[in-house]
Every structure is written in structure tokens, then in C-alpha cells.
Amino acid sequence: MNEKQNGFFANLAEKLNLRYIGSLVLSVLLAFLICAVILAVAGYDPIATYGAMWNGAFDSLRHVGDFLEYAMVLCICGLACVLGARVGIFNVGGEGQLLLGAIFACQIGIWLQGTTAWIVIPLAAVGAMVAGGLYAFIPGWLKVKQKVDEVITTIMMNSIAAFLCQYLAKGPWKNANKNMVAATARLNADYWFGNLIPRSNLTTAIIAAAIIAFAVWYVMQKTATGYEMRITGSNPRFAFFSGLKTDKIVILGMVVSGMMCGLVGMFRVYGVEHLYRASISNDYYFEGLTVAMIAQYNPVTTIYLSLFFAVLKIGAQGIELIGVPSQIYLIMQTVIIFFMAAEKGISESIQKSLQARRAKQAAIARMKGGVSHE
């Protein structure tokens, strides 16, 4: 009897998941359809555009490498957001944490110029994590101790970080090159992450990222710590009542989230740009956050969706070659989110009306069948 029940709930869980996947696929298809209409109205050939998009991502190894690198960025940023959400804090400040991580990691490499990479790279990683982590600690602490809303503080701190980095890159840490206005000096090539696919952005950083992603998934899903985080995020009063140090858990969740963002900054510098400038991130954290939201803060789904959106994004560069604006990618992303959000309400109302219909039919059947009960 118990066995049967277990089986039943395993099935149910599967079904629910299938429903999510189904609605995701449907949203994606609808998004493609709607964008096709938009493209057609704007005078572009949708088929050709999607073809170009496919080519943009898959026509060469180099592009494959590029989208893998971007998937890595999305994935770590997305998981950072998931981690915060798990303990009940919404980290909107990842962009600032990423920028600070990037600039400090970069500067460490410049200060230590001449030292072996075996020392510089770990130090830079630590520096990036400390910068990102500390910067996340502030809103985390404010939320827990002073009840200041983290969404507001982190958004404001994003601007502060962006300005601070801009100042540093234009002022004290500016490079000697007169033509580059707001950038730090270039890192010694010894410190660069090695390319995994020549001429692409894909570097050995993805190995570190994979390890981080696995570790985050493992801690969240498989350990007592993950369990405590989940309970804290879901009912903090119950968690506190039960003896958990909820303040610590929330702050720690936020700090680790910030550390991950800082590391992404370091990966961007040591892997791709080799110096700090503002283009190190174009709101990449926000795209990661969007992915996490679409994934309903599920770590595994976040990883898969990162790949999908990375393909779209790199593919979108391909459509520019045939003269279509790459912003079509943004429209698509927004439409998908829109449908995912609407799906919940729509499917619920469909279910309700189905239930009502079934009840009615049953009643009619009973009436037609004449007397059945009593």
C-alpha cells in the first residue's frame, strides 16, 4: 500500500515536471511564431532569419565556443540568483558584484605582474570572490538586521559599483594607452585562461564553472545545509523557531551568491577581455536572473535554459549579417517569459472549466440513467 503510494507520487512529480516542460516548449514555440510575425511585418524573411540564427550559433566551432562561454556566464549568474532565492533573498545586485569582482581580479593580476600564474590566478579568484561577496554582504546584512528591502539596496548598489569601476578604470587604475579611455592595463598573457576552441571565447574557465555549478546543485539538493536553506527561504519564522540561525543562513546565501558573481567577473577578464572595461558585462547578470526566473529557480533547469538562451544570443549575432537587428533576441526572450507567466493562470482556468464540465456530464449521465443512488 505504501509502495503503491510512493509510486503514485513519483508519477505525479513526473507529470508536474512534464507539464512545466510542456508549457516551456509551448512558450518557446509561440515566441518563435510571434517573432516570425514581427519579422514578416518588419519586412524580413522569418525563415531566412531563423536559418541565419541557427548558422550564427552552429556554423563554426568558434561560434559553438562562444555560446558555450556565454552559457557559462548565464548559468553561474542564474545559479547565484537561485541560491539567493532559496534562502528568501532576491539578489538583484549581481551585476555590481560581477563588475567589482572583475576589476579587482584584474588589478591583482596587474599588481602582481611577473609572479607565476600559479599564484596570481588563485589570488585573483579569491580577490574576485571577496569583492563580490563583501558587496553582497551589505544588502544581506541590511535586510536581516535592519529590515531594509534587498531589491532596492541591490539595485542602487549596482549603480554605485558601475560608477566606482568606471572611475577606477578612468582614473587611478587606467592603462597607459591614450586611445583607450576607460580601461585598466592589459594582463600579462601568462595569466590568460587557455583557449579550448581556438579564436573562440571558450576557455578553461568553463571547467571551474562546471565544478561550481555542480557544487551549488549538490549543496542545494543533497545536503542538510541545502535543506535548512530551503526551509529558511520558505518560512523563516518556522526555521528560527526550530532553532536555525536564520540570519546567518540568509546572509551566507547572499554572500555566496555575490562570490559567484564576482567569479564570473574574473572569468570574463582572465578568459575573454584580458583587461577591465565596462563591456566586461552587458547586464549579463540580469540575463542570468531572467533565466533563473524562467527556470522557476530550479538549479538543473537553470543550467539547461542557460544553454538555450546562449544559443539564441550568439545566433542573434548571425542574423545581423543578413541585416536583421539582433534585438529580435530580446523580444523573443520577453515573449517567452510572458507566456511562462501567463501559462500558470491559463492552465489553471482550463483545468477548472474541465472539472466543471466533467461534473456536469456526470450529472447528466446520472439523470439519463434514471435512478442510480437512493
Binding site: A224, F241, G243, A359, H373
Partner: protein, 512 residues
């Protein structure tokens, strides 16, 4: 009284894994008080949620005053004159009483702006008509549960309900408040011709208030009777399927060392006013100290301060010889304390987590559940949770569903089961059987006495005076945050204690 207010025809309701209602056919007459009783998880709330349009039945039909309900939706139900006060309240905590009452039908100034004065006037009017006294401008999160319930009732009346569903309204009330509520019910039935359906686990209340009673068991309606043809015993055995005997509890007399000591304790309430005003008490091992007090006289704040959930303003609390001022609940639990909180939904469970996760809480770091400290041992956790689930006779759709989907009484059993599983030498217990059926009350009482006999020091607070008397060795009365008397449970009667609960001091009462 021939008119029919509500008709259920062959109603079935299936949730994943449970058939909560199983082919129920029932008529409720206009102008009657209909009591619905049954064990925890029997499907009472589910049936009422169908009438109120929250659930759409998987099968069957509902007629309200002869009119078939086509679309199950609370908005439709309200427009058909159905009002419901839920087992777990649904008020906006940060709004005032008046704002909550007029919610969704707000009086407007110039047709747009919320008219606060108007809302308060409307509330005053309702209060006068129905005799349910509340302060319209008070903020809901700052008033007692008993008062919050009045707000819920007024809300339905404001929306024009003439069929009122009350889901375990008396579970959170003191005897006096219950009497007041019953007076109101009689008044609205007699003077306003309303129909009232009331769910309760207290069978004497069924006898007191209802005209007819329906008994549910495991989703089925197993009997509908005129209350005058029934008595409590018959009802109980119809409900549980066996006779329920409140046998005398075996109390061993083996009182040991002092485990809880409270000295001159002062604690504030949510508004920052003094709630506990210089309380001192002491509980020894093997003893139950009961607190008898009318809701809102500081008992909640007192227990919260002892367990670390609330700040101590002055004075001291000592648990097993260690002063706990300033410690958090985790540290205090570490000394050997377990706590059944007054409010299960907000504090006692994590509604969005599974039953097994809820039962595990506090033990997740035990080596047996935490392999090598790096991985949760799911097999062991499931086995443990299943055992407790069986032992406490929790009834629901198994250990994998969210606690939030369980019936109220079974949710309470989850809390009790978890807190007892620590075998803590100090137990702080608040409302242990709130919303629990008669059979399960018997079981929980036995468990409490067993803990006591095994040497636990227990501080108990309950709105149910019978419960306080049945379990306690000593009783203290609290009034406005002060101790007004202390008695051996065997040496005082319920009537006498009522006197102290309303503020008369021991010294004034009898010079002994």
C-alpha cells in the same frame, strides 16, 4: 422550516492520493444551525470549501436555495449569500479591522478614493446590529485571535451573507468568547433568519448550539441526526467508529528538581506595550504547570519569551540551571527544550515543505540522517518520517505531500509529533489539541502525561480550561500580564478559577 438552503447532491472530491469527499448527499434547511463533525481529515473543510466555491467538486452538484451552482468560485458563492470563516484566518494583517471588513467592497469618496471614515462607520453599524464588539481602527495583527475571528464573521455579514459557514470557530476561543459567539449565532438565526453551518470537534458544543448534526468519516457522510436525539457519547462513537472513553490519566507522583524558573519577567507585545508584567514561576521535573488565562492576558508572550521567540525586557528565565536571556531558540533548544507553538501555520510548520521535511526539522544534522555530514540520507529520513506518521496516526496523503494541503488537525499532529520526538526534559506547550478530533485528543493527552511521567517539566497553556484541569498538577492564573493566583489542580474548581482569570487576586478572594 421546510425550506432548503443548501443541497449537496452526490458530491465527490478527489485530491491526488485521497478521496476527501465520497458521494455526499445532504440538505441544509433554512434557518437551522447545522453542525458538521468528524475525525481529522474526514473531509469537513473540503465539503465546506466546495459550498464556498474554493473547491470544484470532481463529481456532483450543489444547489443554493434551489439554484444550481454552475461555476465554483468564491465570488459567485458570496453573491449567492454564502459566507465562510476559515479554520485558518484569511485577513490582511497590516490592515485595520474596518479596512479588512470592507475589503473588496470599499466605500468610496467621490467614487474613487478609499473612505476610511466611511469604512469605520460601516463597521460600527455592523457591530451595533450583531452585537460583535471590535475596535474598527485597531490593526489586525495587533489584536487577539478571538477578535480576529469576529472580524472574519463581520466581514461575511458585511458582504450580505445569509448562509454562514464557520470552520472550527471555537478552536481558538476561550469559553467566555465561545458563549458570546453562540449568543451571536442564536441571534442571527432567530432575528435575521440566517442559516449557520458549524464545524467543531467539541461535542458538547454540538449539543449546545445545533439543531441537526451530520457526522463524516473518511470522506463519507455516515449519519445525519436531530441533535435532540443524540448525546456526546453516541456522537463520539459514530465519529470514530468506536467508543471514546476519557479514562483517567495515570499520573505518577515523582516530582524532581526545578527545570524552569522565571523571575520577575517583563515582556512586551507586538505594539511594544507591557504584556507580561513581573511574572515569576517555577516548574519541576515530572510536573505540569498549567496556565489558565483569558486570551490576550500575556500567556502567549510569556511562552514566547521562555522559548526565545520574543525579547525579554527585564527579569530572567532559567532553563535547567542556565539563564537564557538573550539566547535564540536554537541555543535554548540545545539546553533541552521543545516547544509546541500556539500558531501552527505561521510558526509550527513549513506549509510549502513536505510532511517528511517537517518531521525531520531539528534532526537534519543527526548522523543517521546526514551521511558523513555531506549527504542527506533519504532512505533513513523516509523511514523515520513514516514511523512517526504511523505512530501519531497522522492521516493524509502520505509523507511526500506538502503540509499545507493537510487538514488542520493533522497539521497539528505533525507539530506535536515532531516536538515530542526530541524527548526534551523541558516542554513548553501551547494549545496542544487545537483543532484535533476527540480520538486524537485522547492520544495527545496520553503522550503529554507520558512525557511528564518520564520526568519532563511541562509548562502548558490552553484556551480549553477542561484541558488545563485534566493535565495540570498545578495551575496559575494570569490576568493582564500578572499572576493572580496559584493552585493545586485538585484543590480548585473551574468556577472558582474563573474568578481569578478575571483579575481578582488570591488574597482578596480568600484569606487563608
Amino acid at each position: 422550516m421546510g425550506e432548503i438552503a443548501v443541497q449537496f447532491k452526490h458530491i465527490s472530491m478527489e485530491f491526488p492520493g485521497v478521496l476527501a469527499n465520497d458521494d455526499i448527499t445532504l440538505d441544509i434547511r433554512k434557518g437551522e444551525v447545522f453542525a458538521l463533525v468528524g475525525e481529522n481529515g474526514a473531509g469537513k473543510s473540503t465539503l465546506m470549501n466546495i459550498l464556498y466555491g474554493i473547491n470544484t467538486p470532481t463529481n456532483g452538484e450543489v444547489f443554493i436555495r434551489g439554484k444550481k451552482v454552475e461555476h465554483f468560485d468564491p465570488g459567485v458563492a458570496i453573491s449567492l449569500g454564502v459566507g465562510m470563516v476559515h479554520q485558518h484566518f484569511m485577513l490582511v494583517p497590516s490592515f485595520t479591522v474596518a479596512q479588512n471588513i470592507v475589503l473588496s467592497r470599499e466605500p468610496k469618496k467621490m467614487g474613487v478614493f478609499f473612505d476610511n471614515k466611511g469604512a469605520e462607520k460601516e463597521t460600527e453599524k455592523l457591530v451595533k446590529t450583531y452585537g460583535l464588539t471590535v475596535e474598527p481602527s485597531a490593526v489586525v495583527q495587533e489584536i487577539s485571535v478571538g477578535l480576529q475571528q469576529r472580524v472574519e464573521i463581520l466581514k461575511t455579514l458585511y458582504r450580505g451573507a445569509d448562509i454562514l459557514i464557520l470552520d472550527e470557530p471555537t478552536a481558538v476561543l476561550t469559553p467566555q468568547e465561545t458563549d458570546e459567539l453562540f449568543a451571536v449565532i442564536r441571534k442571527i438565526v432567530r432575528e435575521h433568519g440566517m442559516t449557520v453551518i458549524i464545524i467543531t470537534h467539541k461535542l458538547y458544543e454540538v449539543m449546545q448550539i445545533s439543531d441537526r448534526v451530520g457526522v463524516m468519516r473518511k470522506g463519507k457522510l455516515v449519519g445525519v441526526e436531530n441533535t435532540s436525539d443524540m448525546d456526546e457519547r453516541k456522537l463520539a462513537s459514530l465519529m470514530v467508529g468506536r467508543p471514546v472513553l476519557y479514562e483517567n490519566l495515570d499520573k505518577e507522583d515523582d516530582i524532581g528538581d526545578e527545570q524552569i524558573r522565571v523571575d520577575d519577567l517583563v515582556v512586551g507585545d507586538n505594539r511594544g506595550l507591557v504584556a507580561v508584567d513581573g511574572v515569576s514561576l517555577s516548574v519541576r521535573s515530572g510536573e505540569i504547570l498549567g496556565i489558565a488565562a483569558v486570551e490576550g492576558n500575556g500567556q502567549s508572550e510569556l511562552l514566547e519569551a521562555i522559548t526565545g521567540m520574543r525579547k525579554i525586557e527585564s527579569g530572567s528565565v532559567t532553563i535547567r540551571g542556565r539563564q537564557i536571556n538573550g539566547m535564540d531558540p536554537g541555543a535554548i533548544r540545545g539546553i533541552g527544550l521543545a516547544h509546541i507553538p500556539e500558531d501552527r501555520i505561521s510558526t509550527g510548520v513549513c506549509a510549502d515543505a513536505s510532511v517528511s521535511d517537517n518531521l525531520l526539522m531539528g534532526k537534519e544534522r543527526n548522523p543517521e540522517f546526514n551521511t558523513l555530514g555531506i549527504a542527506q540520507n533519504n532512505a533513513a529520513i523516509r523511514k523515520y518520517a513514516s514511523e512517526i506518521y504511523e505512530k501519531f496516526d497522522i492521516r493524509g496523503a502520505g509523507i511526500d505531500v506538502n503540509v499545507g494541503s493537510m487538514s488542520g488537525g493533522n497539521m497539528q499532529k505533525v507539530v506535536v509529533a515532531r516536538e515530542f520526538s526530541f524527548d526534551a526534559p523541558v516542554l513548553i506547550i501551547s494549545q496542544p489539541t487545537r483543532g484535533v478530533d476527540v480520538g486524537a485528543i485522547e492520544f495527545i493527552h496520553e503522550q503529554i502525561i507520558q512525557q511528564r511521567n518520564e520526568g519532563a517539566a511541562i509548562l502548558l497553556s490552553s484556551a480549553d480550561l477542561d484541558e488545563v484541569f485534566r493535565l495540570s498538577d498545578r495551575i496559575i492564573t494570569l490576568y493582564e500580564g500578572k499572576v493572580t493566583g496559584e493552585f493545586k489542580a485538585s484543590e480548585i474548581t473551574k468556577e472558582e478559577i474563573g474568578y481569578f482569570m478575571t483579575g481578582k487576586r488570591e488574597t482578596e478572594a480568600a484569606h487563608e
